[in-house]
């Protein structure tokens, strides 16, 4: 079966700074891939190339469901199939929770408002905040906002979901509720690519963990391979530093 996301020889530079240098990554349908690594290693840049929020250098290529991701007509088709959850939520503050969720399906997929609305309520139930449908994002906690953002992305019925450090700007007590929702998604077979600092989540939920440093994939493998038997020194150093002073309760 062809990969839903296929990245070959991906390079990206800002002037002389090489943010990504030669990334190859394939993600199969139904797979959950967690990308971990130090800040500035290019993790976010990598997943932002998948829906072209970042452009990439010409020699590489990113395919989503076999279609090259590039400027032009195909781009919106790709973006319809790729949901994204941001670190800073990026909900539309002038719309209610329900309107946030309904907007893209009605505008982009031409789904009738009735159908879209009832689906929005189902999604809100799925992320555990059905009672907040009429509120505005500003009235919700960070954890609730991020769950709305997940529902909003899911409403487009994407083939793959990208998560760009979805819990990094949350207060600690709200991280768990968001990870719980993401775990449910993973269990229900949603294809997910997750940039995260939550090692417990990566170990527990990922099918594959990718460790990046300095714009390259250092190594990739099952959570057990990466967390318990890392082959590369850099991976072990990073994991020791991160896990050393973080309690692993959630694990």
């Amino acid at each position: 079966m062809p990969a839903i996301v296929s990245i070959k020889n991906l390079h990206k530079s800002y002037g002389s700074f090489r943010a990504l240098s030669g990334i190859d990554l394939e993600v199969q349908e139904g797979e959950v891939v967690c990308i971990v690594g130090p800040s500035g290693s290019g993790k976010s840049t990598l997943i932002r190339c998948i829906n072209l929020l970042e452009s990439y250098d010409d020699q590489g290529q990113v395919l989503v469901d076999g279609v090259r991701v590039e400027r032009g007509k195909a781009l919106r088709r790709v973006r319809k199939e790729v949901g994204m959850v941001f670190q800073s939520f990026n909900l539309f503050p002038h719309l209610t929770v329900q309107e946030n969720i309904v907007l893209a399906p009605t505008r982009v997929r031409n789904i009738s408002p009735e159908v879209a609305n009832s689906k929005a309520l189902d999604l809100l139930k799925r992320v555990g905040i059905a009672e907040q449908a009429e509120k505005y994002p500003g009235q919700l906690s960070g954890g609730q906002q991020q769950r709305v953002a997940i529902a909003r992305a899911l409403a487009m019925e994407p083939r793959v979901m990208l998560f760009d450090e979805p819990t990094s700007s949350l207060d600690p007590e709200m991280v768990g509720e968001v990870l719980e929702v993401m775990k449910d998604l993973a269990d229900s077979g949603v294809t997910m690519i997750v940039v995260t600092h939550e090692m417990g989540f990566a170990r527990q939920v990922a099918d594959r963990v990718v460790f990046m440093d300095a714009g390259k994939i250092v190594e990739a493998g099952t959570p057990a391979q990466i967390f318990d038997h890392a082959e590369e020194e850099r991976t072990r150093l990073f994991l020791n530093a991160v896990l050393g002073h973080k309690d692993e309760k959630r694990n």
Binding site: L53, M84, N90, L103
Partner: protein, 223 residues
Amino acid sequence: MSFTETFLNWDVLVSSLPLLLSGLKVTLLLGFVGILFGLLLGLFLALVRIYAIRPVSLAAKIYTDVFRSIPILVLLIVIYYALPFVGLRLSPFMSAAVALTLVSGAYTAEIFRAGIEAIPRGQFEASHALGLGYRHMMADVVLPQAIRIVIPPLTNNCINVIKDTALASVVAMPDLLKQATQAQALEANPTPLIVAALIYVALLWPLVVFVGRLEKRYRREER
């Protein structure tokens, strides 16, 4: 003659009132036209300035800079007295409407641009990521938020446009000021001028208060 007989003469007021009201109608119509077309022009210029290719965007910038530098009175006189030499003869009303629109458009362009640029990048990214096209992104996400930001400065601009309509009296347009000076000459009494001034204030004071309240409210909400 007493002060009231001179400046607030009832009989003069009553006899000049029809003239003043007809002037007010023209002033309001001119203000409305200038504001409406200024808004449309400004929105267009702002979008061009931000999103068009480089040379076109530069042209929009030059336009807004030039038309914010030129005094409306000068522009109006050029349009009314100079353009006929190249065969373009506009009525006083058209001349004034064009001058007001051109200048108001430049100011509203800057206001809209500031409003759009105040929208966080994440809003655009979320729209892109959801697959929204440019039209829907602007209409459903960006402009509704930008409009809230630009309402106070836009209202200020409306106030200025309405004030500037009085300049049209120099090209003999029968607006409120022109009719007031006519009536003053006719009655040999300044009461019509005083009444005209009061009408301008009565018209614009509520808008001034409205802007002040909005600005105060937005400041509070930001905190």
